[in-house]
Symmetry: C2
């Protein structure tokens, strides 16, 4: 097997990856995860999220450190530009998910990568969120992802991207939608 010949490929520990798949096959409860972010309003459109704890592999876990992320609107949208807009974080999440996936999939298939870059663009007409048109949606009208990959045979690289798209959590969330429930404690 290629994986035993070269257990680390593209920085992916394929031996551990396959062992993890086997463990999950043996007990599917390991695969039930619950991710979490907490957010605190700072002022105006500026707010800050913390990402630290999550549930997975049948236990409560934490990342190696808490990370905080500021979001704001730019001056042109009456904010103070203390961070990216929330919709830009969605583009980052999409690029990151597809890229992590293709690195894993390439490693599992024995395909070498030397370079992966992407640009993600989203078109949004603010007439929606500004409440100035009922015919314009609030979110992006369309998103385009442009990948540049270098490594093994181009056709293999293209199939790796295709499979990453087929197995990407964020691609699924962004293209198919997820039910969101909101509860409010207003005191």
């Amino acid at each position: 097997m290629t994986t035993t010949e070269n257990p680390v490929r593209n920085g992916v520990d394929t031996a551990t990856l396959f062992a993890t798949l086997d463990a999950v096959k043996g007990n599917t409860d390991i695969a039930k995860f619950r991710y979490r972010a907490t957010n605190r309003w700072v002022s105006g459109t500026h707010n800050r999220s913390t990402i630290h704890g999550f549930y997975g592999a049948m236990q409560e876990m934490t990342h190696q450190q808490p990370w905080t992320f500021d979001a704001d609107h730019p001056a042109v949208l009456v904010g103070n530009d203390n961070g990216p807009t929330p919709v830009e974080y969605v583009l980052h999440a999409l690029a990151a998910c597809l890229t992590a996936g293709l690195a894993n999939i390439a490693a599992a298939r024995g395909v070498n990568l030397t370079e992966v870059e992407s640009t993600v663009e989203g078109d949004i007409d603010l007439l929606g969120i500004l409440g100035l048109s009922d015919r314009v949606r609030n979110g992006y009208e369309q998103i385009r992802v442009s990948f540049k990959l270098r490594g093994d045979d181009p056709e293999k690289l293209r199939r790796v991207v295709e499979q990453s798209r087929n197995r990407s959590a964020v691609f699924d969330i962004v293209t198919n939608g997820v039910p969101v429930a909101i509860e409010v404690d207003a005191g």
Copy 2:
């Protein structure tokens, strides 16, 4: 008008907010925005996005600085935990968008906020992305947002959250989905 009596409320410059709305009504092309993120693979599931330039208000613009964000998988998912997972960034984006919106909406309505906190949780069964079940989707099965607001009358605060949900770009993206096109340059 309340807005001229108190042009800054909740840290929102309501005078500028209303002036911006008037400007957009006068020329709807101002509202056409294109956001962008670039991403570069580092190793394994670790990759890094940069957010800096965007198009809006009929011109190419930049944020006051480029921001970079690392994403990775935790050790339990065979990564090195150099950053949150991509799906956690989606939770942050949702909390940030709803929170920015409610600060703006409250200010526009003359409603004072003193505190806004939220927790966003997403349930995901990794049998989907691991390719171990065709009946499990890749993305979140459901997302729950829990807000705690303090300030003026609780009923007014609840209506502000409701309107923020109705006008949130990320809530729309996450609940309704967006078409995503992927192109690949594999050399």
